[in-house]
Assembly symmetry: C2
Homo-oligomer: 204 residues x 2
Amino acid sequence: MRIIVPFAPIVSVVMLLSTAGAAVAADQAEQPKYTPDGGLHLPTDYREWTYLTTGFDMSYSANADTAHHMFDNVFVNPAAYRAFVQTGTWPDGTMLVLEVRGASSRGSINRAGHYQEGAPMGLEVHVRDGARFPGKWAFFTFDDGGPQGKLIPQSADCYSCHAAHAAVDTTFVQFYPTLLPIARGKGTLARSYVAQDAAQAGTR
Amino acid sequence: MRIIVPFAPIVSVVMLLSTAGAAVAADQAEQPKYTPDGGLHLPTDYREWTYLTTGFDMSYSANADTAHHMFDNVFVNPAAYRAFVQTGTWPDGTMLVLEVRGASSRGSINRAGHYQEGAPMGLEVHVRDGARFPGKWAFFTFDDGGPQGKLIPQSADCYSCHAAHAAVDTTFVQFYPTLLPIARGKGTLARSYVAQDAAQAGTR
């Protein structure tokens, strides 16, 4: 019997390194690893990467189904995070992981609101690799929990929506509370986002 | 005008180390640092620690105020996380950081649900230091955003509630979806929690 535990936390080899060159090795370990058929291997230690934000029942539609509550957690590889803090934008090799988890209520001592429970219900990775992808970025979906994700075609809506509305380089930094002020300070916000934000502010 | 940015992300020195002993240095950098009057210095790089979970509008009261929606994010120092993965419980030196952020809606392309926005609205740290605290753990609150937290007296309700209801060693591991299965597998769940969980399951 083959036992597959695709989402189990794995102790990062990064923190166990104590020899010269540890930082270099760490950065190499974070590079996206593609499958022969153009997919992406799941970065299994993403839960030890840098956390960016969590949303609750987020939807781009006002008529979203809210019968099943969901959280979405976003992580990024640490080297890309450090680069963003320095520059206000993402380097090649950036991997943003979106993890969806079910929301439970009234368990243990919790009486109101929601908490996260159970295994991930969905997983997507957004990869920046300028030499490989048109538009520099690509989305991969891990519908079955991994360990190999499928490339979402560049014609899918997610690409055009991210290009049109994202705050920084097709990424939704407007929802990452620690990074938005950095992008604003370094002047790396997309012109389209700045214009949309100003227009929305005028209607509030 | 004085500009205070108490919670700005700071690049962790841990990841920049590339000499022998990096792991040891990292563990030492994670030790709790107390103030002369018994408070705790804010671990300023906690946003680069290991993420555990996020709740939305969580409350122990069924009559909680939901006029203002809130997220709470939980982080732990990486050395303590690695120890938990190995043993199912927390070592001395564990610091769990609870960060509260405001929940916004209908900004940018978001039309339903909530996302995190703005600076932290509250911060608490739960520290395990068996030689220093009765009951081995203590809570510190950073009401004003830091950088020094005040010790919450051991007579406060949070201590007795955590002792009575927590899944592992007075911590609410029942709300940490990646750690609860580890504690269950290693048999480190508190007897009181197991009994309460079984009683609740019987009423569902």
